[in-house]
């Protein structure tokens, strides 16, 4: 049990660090594309935020695997939005 908990903590810690790293990616992207349409507030903001949403959606922790109405609809929206977003890109 302790092992499982420990693994889960490590996993969450990794997720958190990954999310922090995504902020850096957003910063670099926004700096590089500044002044162009790709550096516009909507697209720049989406680069900061949507990769984090997609990552958490993809990494859904074990406790969320039993899809509930609420959560499955959240993941569905996340996936659709990410598909549309990547399609636009």
């Amino acid at each position: 049990m302790e092992k499982v908990f420990s693994k889960k903590s490590q996993s969450l810690r990794f997720d958190f660090i990954f999310l922090l790293a995504l902020i850096g990616v957003g910063y670099i992207y926004s700096t590089i594309t500044a002044g162009s349409l790709l550096g516009e507030s909507l697209i720049g903001g989406a680069v900061f935020i949507l990769p984090g949403v997609a990552y958490l959606g993809w990494r859904k922790p074990k406790k969320l695997e039993k899809n509930t109405t609420k959560l499955s609809s959240v993941w569905l929206v996340v996936r659709i939005f990410f598909r549309v977003y990547t399609g636009i890109q």
Binding site: L20, T31, E40, T69
Partner: protein, 194 residues
């Protein structure tokens, strides 16, 4: 729904009162006031905040949605419709001094009450705030530097100066610090049922 409905109402009032103005180069301004970008921005931020909360913070997963879930939808829809009607009929009624401060203070009442009544939520909010503060702070620096949005008004309680960049104190307090906690408090009160 939170992001879209409350985002529209809040942004409509703030953009109308020139508390800030978002530069929109892709999508149109709804009713000539609020850029669609703002609404989508709230939608995306809400998604990230709720997924972050469910992934890292929420200790238990409920498979039930609160029966009060319709309440904020009705309230936000009604507020939005009234705001738009007033804009066309008598815009002076939605012309407010210190609109960012007023609406910010109203918005942060639920998380403060929730944290006061149940210290568990104070702990949960305090776990979320550091990450979202860093995220929103970095976005703010980029946004102000590259004019994603500007602050054309003069009715703020103060300014935060960072080198040659500056933004209102309300932005620091209500967006960077309290936005995530505020959304999660609405989520706990009206949607999640644990």
């Amino acid at each position: 729904m939170f992001g879209l409905l409350y985002g529209f109402f809040f942004e409509f009032i703030q953009e109308f009162n020139r508390a800030y103005s978002v530069e929109s180069r892709i999508l149109p301004r709804l009713f000539g006031v609020v850029p669609l970008d703002n609404i989508l921005g709230h939608f995306m931020m809400s998604l990230l905040i709720f997924t972050f909360y469910e992934h890292f913070i929420n200790p238990k997963t409920s498979n039930k949605i609160s029966r009060y879930v319709w309440l904020p939808i009705v309230m936000a829809s009604a507020a939005s419709v009234i705001a738009v009607m007033l804009y066309y009929l008598n815009p002076n009624l939605i012309k407010l001094s210190y609109s960012y401060l007023i609406f910010g203070c109203i918005a942060v009442i639920p998380p403060i009450v929730l944290a006061y009544k149940n210290p568990r939520y104070a702990r949960e909010f305090s776990l979320m705030i550091p990450y979202f503060f860093i995220l929103f702070f970095v976005i703010e620096i980029i946004a102000v530097r590259h004019s994603w949005w500007i602050y054309p008004g003069d009715q703020y309680v103060g300014w935060v100066q960072l080198g040659d960049l500056r933004y209102p104190f309300e932005e620091l307090l209500f967006w960077m610090l309290f936005y995530a906690a505020t959304l999660v408090s609405y989520y706990k009160i009206f949607v999640d049922r644990d």
